[in-house]
């Protein structure tokens, strides 16, 4: 069930350049299940900023009743969010959307997780849940530069983890696709989240394979009502999918990137 709750900030810390890890506590955590789902966050009660911000779930901890999100400070909304202190509340709507299909990865099989920049967070809960199901997880995480890297060891705890940076300041120099190629990484299923050019490159390279991509689009409602976040379906002029409610995760080929 989607709910709305004033969740309580349990902790917040800077984990990389302009990148915050925010842990929230509340009953809503019990509704959060699927990695790749997101929450829609209102950072201040005032009319400025007005809209909610979509942020992916990075960790779901039902026992503690806590969830974690990781976000980069970009504009007005995330700047305000970064000011929250433990004990403050955050207005959360969620969990929203359809996440990564775990069942697409056979137990004992190999899942390749490919993340770019601030697309990395949802892959962490995915890695955890896949590993729990006995799937072999390989992660390839791309960042711009060393200072932006986060969660390297945390991913490594679930399997082989490769880092790529654009400027070569950490891990391999270049893009995630370069790493996949150089290492000749194989997979039964590929899950990815990151900037559109990265998703497009993966889509083209692995056309026909089981590839799941998490998309980003500017949102109004976040629940499927406003038609802000649509994308085309291949082969039709009028058919569409909504990123917020049909996605954000789609099987490659399901929608036009």
């Amino acid at each position: 069930m989607i709910g709305r709750e004033q969740m309580t900030v349990a902790s917040q810390r800077l984990i990389a350049e302009r990148t915050y890890e925010l842990t929230l506590a509340g009953r809503l955590v019990q509704e959060m299940k699927q990695p790749g789902q997101f929450v829609h966050v209102k950072v201040a009660a005032s009319a400025d900023p007005l809209l909610r911000r979509p942020l992916s779930l990075c960790q779901i901890d039902h026992e503690q009743g806590q969830c974690t999100i990781i976000y980069r400070q970009e504009g007005k909304g995330t700047a305000l969010l970064a000011q929250k202190q433990p004990g403050d509340t955050v207005d959360v709507l969620g969990p929203l959307g359809h996440g990564f299909p775990l069942e697409a990865a056979p137990a004992g099989g190999r899942a390749l997780l490919v993340g770019g920049g601030i697309g990395v967070p949802p892959l962490y809960e995915l890695a955890k849940q896949l590993a729990n199901r006995g799937v072999n997880v390989v992660s390839v995480l791309g960042f711009q530069t060393k200072a932006a890297v986060f969660y390297e060891e945390k991913f490594a705890a679930f399997g082989e983890t490769y880092i790529a940076t654009d400027d070569g300041s950490h891990g391999a120099a270049g893009r995630v696709t370069d790493v996949i190629e150089a290492r000749a990484l194989e997979f039964d299923v590929l899950y990815a989240c990151g900037p559109k050019p990265m998703l497009k490159a993966l889509d083209e390279r692995f056309r026909g394979r089981p590839v799941y991509l998490s998309l980003e689009e500017r949102m109004g409602c976040g629940v499927g009502a406003c038609f802000a976040c649509v994308c085309h379906v291949p082969g039709s002029e009028t058919a569409y999918k909504k990123v917020c409610s049909d996605g954000p995760v789609f099987r490659a080929g399901e929608v036009v990137l």
Binding site: I2, L50, R52, G220, A225, F227, Y240
Partner: protein, 313 residues
């Protein structure tokens, strides 16, 4: 008696609160949050004859106190609305106001004739003012003669009362309203969005793929209030007010300005529970202000002025 009840042409509303067109889809999404029967009415998303995909994305951009949208009238088309959306909505005890749009007068007339016969459609809302559809849209809403002609044609074929939705992007909103009233409209709804734009400083380009979009949300409320205040004094058909409503106080402000019911748009995105919350809060606010029936409030801001010396509106 139900103190929130409001009687309008074609609409016996248990309360005056309804989601605004385009901000509530066809109700399915919000039905997961609450029972839609609590609503006074529902204004469904603009319906055109054929399905439309609408504009490329990004389609929304945030602004201080508001948002821009350029959805471009995406909708599943008349047939699907008649066969899937409206029948699904019949499970709720709530009258539907069908918002209709088109690129030509003929399209409006065709959609109006068909959709007005659906059992739960109690009124039509003519969207003559969508700023995001280049062909036709904007002209219908800004030239009084054209708006009047369209109103007349739709009235001829409609099986239910017709409300016309006014565009705020005009020099003289009163002239528009009067022309539409004279053409036989049963009511007015106002305001639609103001044409606006945002440019991304990093790319130098408009944020919306469409370039311009329609401004809505709290930022536009003072413009809506002013226009309703002016129009309600100049016409005798009722007005359903909208533009930035977020709270029960806002609803009262719209009534005082001259509205007889109120629609809530953008605020649904901020808080999916906003409509039932407002409906629940209204009785206490009426108590606080010593008001018996909400319907008494319509136009109070200008009605009390005739008797009050200190008022200089």
């Amino acid at each position: 008696m139900n103190r929130l009840a409001v009687e309008l042409p074609g609409l016996s509303l248990k309360n005056p609160i309804m989601p605004a067109s385009g901000c509530f889809g066809f109700g399915r999404e919000y039905a997961r949050f609450y029972d839609l029967s609590v609503l006074g009415a529902i204004m469904i998303k603009a319906t055109t004859k054929e399905p439309r995909f609408g504009n490329p994305t990004p389609r929304v951009a945030e602004t201080p106190g508001g948002m821009l949208n350029a959805i471009g009238l995406q909708n599943p088309g008349l047939d699907k609305v008649l066969t899937e959306e409206l029948p699904w909505l019949e499970q709720f005890d709530v009258p539907i106001i069908a918002n209709i749009a088109g690129s030509t007068m003929e399209e409006y007339v065709e959609v109006a004739a068909a959709i007005s016969k659906a059992p739960n459609v109690h009124a039509l809302e003519l969207n003559i003012s969508c700023p995001n559809v280049k062909k036709g849209g904007i002209t219908f809403g800004t030239v009084p003669e054209v708006a009047a002609e369209l109103t007349r044609l739709v009235k001829e074929v409609s099986a239910v009362p017709v409300y016309v939705k006014l565009s705020p992007n005009v020099t003289d909103i009163v002239a528009m309203a009067k022309a539409i009233e004279q053409a036989g409209a049963d009511g007015l709804t106002m305001i639609n969005t103001l044409v606006g734009m945002r440019i991304d400083v990093k790319t130098g380009r408009p944020i919306l793929a469409n370039g311009t979009g329609g401004l809505s949300g709290p930022a536009v409320k003072p413009i809506a209030i002013r226009m309703i205040y002016e129009v309600s004094q100049a016409v005798s058909i009722p007005i359903i007010g909208m533009g930035g409503v977020q709270t029960a106080e806002d609803v009262l402000e719209f009534f005082y300005a001259g509205a007889s019911a109120v629609a809530v748009g953008t605020a649904n995105f901020v808080d999916p529970f906003v409509c039932p919350t407002i409906i629940n809060e209204l009785p206490a606010l009426l108590d606080e202000l010593g008001i018996d029936q909400i319907s008494e409030c319509t136009g109070r801001s200008w009605k009390i002025c005739a008797h009050a010396v200190h008022c200089r509106p």
